[in-house]
């Protein structure tokens, strides 16, 4: 262990782990990050695979000299910004209040 966890701290961790709030915190966290991670990985590797193996499609002109490849690349930026923003919003609304409450309980029981 990095730090030796005292017996009261250990008991508090065990107790908090069993609460409904913690179960909710954990499931809302995993419920967001697992599908989103799988999603952006598939989306990124779709882009890599199309760039490698579908040059004709990627070279199609959209407007002026802007082709599908460029639009696809720019969409990767947009999706990255969008996912980051959505995660920030989600965690501030759904996770932070629960985490604050549980941490406050821990600090009351064990001392900050």
């Amino acid at each position: 262990m990095v730090e030796d966890v005292s017996s009261p701290a250990h008991q508090s961790y065990e107790r908090l782990h069993a609460t409904g709030e913690f179960a909710e915190l954990k499931s809302s966290y995993l419920g967001f990050v697992v599908p989103v991670t799988i999603g952006f990985m598939l989306w990124y590797f779709l882009y890599v695979v199309l760039s490698n193996w579908a040059p004709g499609f990627m070279g199609t002109k959209v407007v002026g000299n802007i082709n599908v490849a460029l639009v696809f690349g720019l969409l990767q930026f947009l999706s990255t910004f969008g996912i980051a923003w959505a995660y920030q919003r989600f965690s501030a609304r759904r996770m932070d209040p629960l985490a604050d409450e549980l941490r406050a309980e821990f600090e009351r029981e064990v001392g900050a």
Binding site: L16, V36, N65, T80, F81, Q88
Partner: protein
């Protein structure tokens, strides 16, 4: 230093004098900051984690400053200038990767670790084997990355100052090394962080300036910029489509997929990035740091697109040949000169000098971050916890970190000087591959898999590390090709330059195998604590 001053005095008529003068400004500014930061560095938390006192925005800038190396700044715009679209394709992996750090690593790491990557891995494992493995991987990743940066620095500074000769390159490497040791030994994490913040601000300001000037030449019409770039590139429309660099054969296509895997999964396993999350007071600030870093890094790569195509469109004649000769590294500086009015014009010289100074600041900030990371791991993991078994005093530990920084910096200088004769550019990609194959599997298993054991952690780290390094050793980057490290030998049986496509699954496989073959269940009993602590911050290091 004397050479720089001499160059400044001699060359006042052209950009070299100005460039050298601006280099001096960067040196003086960062040295001053380091002295200022050192006044408040007393405890171990000060030295390793800057007293955990940085705000999310400050740390976001520092993360961006730590991450965007000269290879990004000069290399990617150069890759776009020379191979068009494929350079842009390459840059995107470096950004998307930050989602892994944001969603899965940053906050949980901040809550469950203290100073090093090993702190997190050793949380519920046997200290000595896990820390030894994690420190080995930390030092190897950081040294690979550091060597690539320092070897590049010698050539780059010589190019930017426009001076030839091995003596100057050797001197530059030694000077960069000495400065880096100074920042880390004297300033610790606080000094290093401020150097990175200054660098990030300079980099963003410089890049925005050149981007606006380039776009203004085309009436802010991106399509026109792309058209001119394609026409002047000599490749026509193919310049705007994927394929010029990575699409030449099935092997090169697979190699790119392998590189993409290493980039996307490696970023969140780079030790010098991970330790930055300890410099903020809470996990929420770690989240904010990554948000800032994503905004800055994303904006930067978008502008790199303009710089790269801008260089292809606007840099002509002799300067264009110089970009080709430099392997693309001079694309941004020479573009700055071109949009400023071309060679011989005062504004061209000013912009060239400015961008060169930004590149110099970039090198300094990145090498300092890497040296600090290795030194922290040697002192905190190997010395204090493996050797002294946690009995070392804080004062001794920090002293050891400073000694380690001195030694690591010295070794890096000694290796980088002869390293100039070798083609070591592959070391950056290898550092990402090791981070993705050795570090990330162990971190993810430790955070999310209750059953994960000490043996699993040790096997995944050494397994991923040996697979990645071993495959590169048997690849055409090391032997069997003209551009290889050892062009005269041939023991290359692995066809890809990038090992990630094989070594990342192997890292995960070894972690799983080590766990299921182990009967030790002690790590499971602490998983409850790790889960509560990493998700809520209860009991997190303050």
């Amino acid at each position: 230093m004397t050479n720089l001053v001499l160059a400044a005095v001699e060359g006042t008529s052209d950009h070299r004098g100005l460039t050298a003068a601006l280099f001096l400004v960067v040196v003086l500014l960062t040295v001053g900051i380091t002295f200022w930061a050192s006044r408040n560095t007393k405890t171990a938390a000060d030295y390793y984690a800057g007293g955990r006192s940085f705000t999310g925005a400050q740390n976001g800038l520092a993360v961006a400053g730590d991450y965007m190396s000269a290879a990004s700044f000069l290399g990617i715009s150069g890759a776009i200038a020379l191979s068009g679209y494929d350079g842009f394709l390459y840059s995107i992996g470096f950004l998307v990767a930050w989602l892994v750090a944001l969603l899965l690593i940053a906050e949980l790491l901040r809550n469950s670790g203290r100073f090093t990557m090993a702190d997190q891995l050793a949380y519920r494992m046997k200290q000595r084997p896990v820390r030894t493995a994690a420190a080995t991987s930390t030092v190897i990743v950081s040294i690979f990355y550091l060597l690539a940066q320092m070897v590049g620095a010698g050539a780059l500074v010589a190019l930017l100052l426009g001076i030839e000769g091995d003596a100057l390159k050797n001197f530059t490497i030694a000077a960069v090394g000495v400065l880096m040791i100074f920042y880390v030994v004297v300033g610790g994490m606080k000094g290093t962080t401020w150097v990175q913040i200054v660098k990030a601000v300079l980099l963003m300001v410089g890049t925005v300036l050149i981007t606006v000037l380039v776009l203004a030449k085309f009436g802010f019409n991106l399509s026109e910029l792309l058209g001119t770039a394609a026409a002047n590139s000599g490749h026509g429309q193919a310049f705007l489509e994927p394929g010029l660099k990575y699409g030449v054969s099935t092997t090169s296509k697979l190699d790119f997929v392998s590189l993409a895997i290493a980039l996307v999964l490696g970023t969140a396993g780079l030790p010098h990035i991970l330790i930055r999350f300890y410099t903020v007071p809470t996990a929420r600030d770690a989240r904010k740091s990554v948000m800032w870093a994503i905004a800055l890094i994303g904006a930067f790569y978008l502008m790199t697109l303009v710089l790269g195509f801008g260089a292809a469109a606007l840099v002509t004649g002799d300067a264009k040949q110089r970009i080709v000769d430099s392997g693309g590294n001079l694309a941004s500086p020479l573009l700055a000169q071109a949009v400023g009015g071309g060679a011989g014009s005062t504004s061209g010289a000013v912009l060239l000098a400015l961008i060169s100074a930004v590149a110099f600041a970039t090198i300094l900030a990145v090498v300092a971050g890497l040296t600090l990371t290795s030194a922290s791991s040697v002192a905190h993991d190997l010395y204090a916890n493996v050797w002294k078994k946690g009995t070392a005093s804080e004062k001794d530990e920090v002293k050891m970190a400073r000694i380690a920084a001195f030694i690591i910096g010295g070794v890096a200088i000694v290796l980088a000087i002869p390293g100039q004769k070798l083609n070591v550019a592959f070391l950056v990609a290898l550092a990402f591959a090791v981070a993705a194959s050795a570090n990330l599997p162990a971190l993810l298993y430790n955070l999310f898999w209750k059953r994960f054991t000490t043996r699993g952690a040790v096997w995944s780290i050494y397994g991923g590390l040996i697979s990645a390094v071993g495959l590169v050793f048997f690849s055409p980057t090391v032997s069997g090709a003209e551009t290889a490290l050892f062009p005269n030998g041939d023991w290359a049986w692995f066809p890809l330059a990038n090992p990630g496509i094989v070594s990342v699954p192997l890292g995960f496989l070894f972690g799983w195998l080590g766990t299921v073959t182990s009967t030790d269940r002690t790590s499971e009993s602490h998983f409850t604590e790790l889960e509560v602590r990493s998700l809520t911050g209860a009991g997190a290091a303050k």
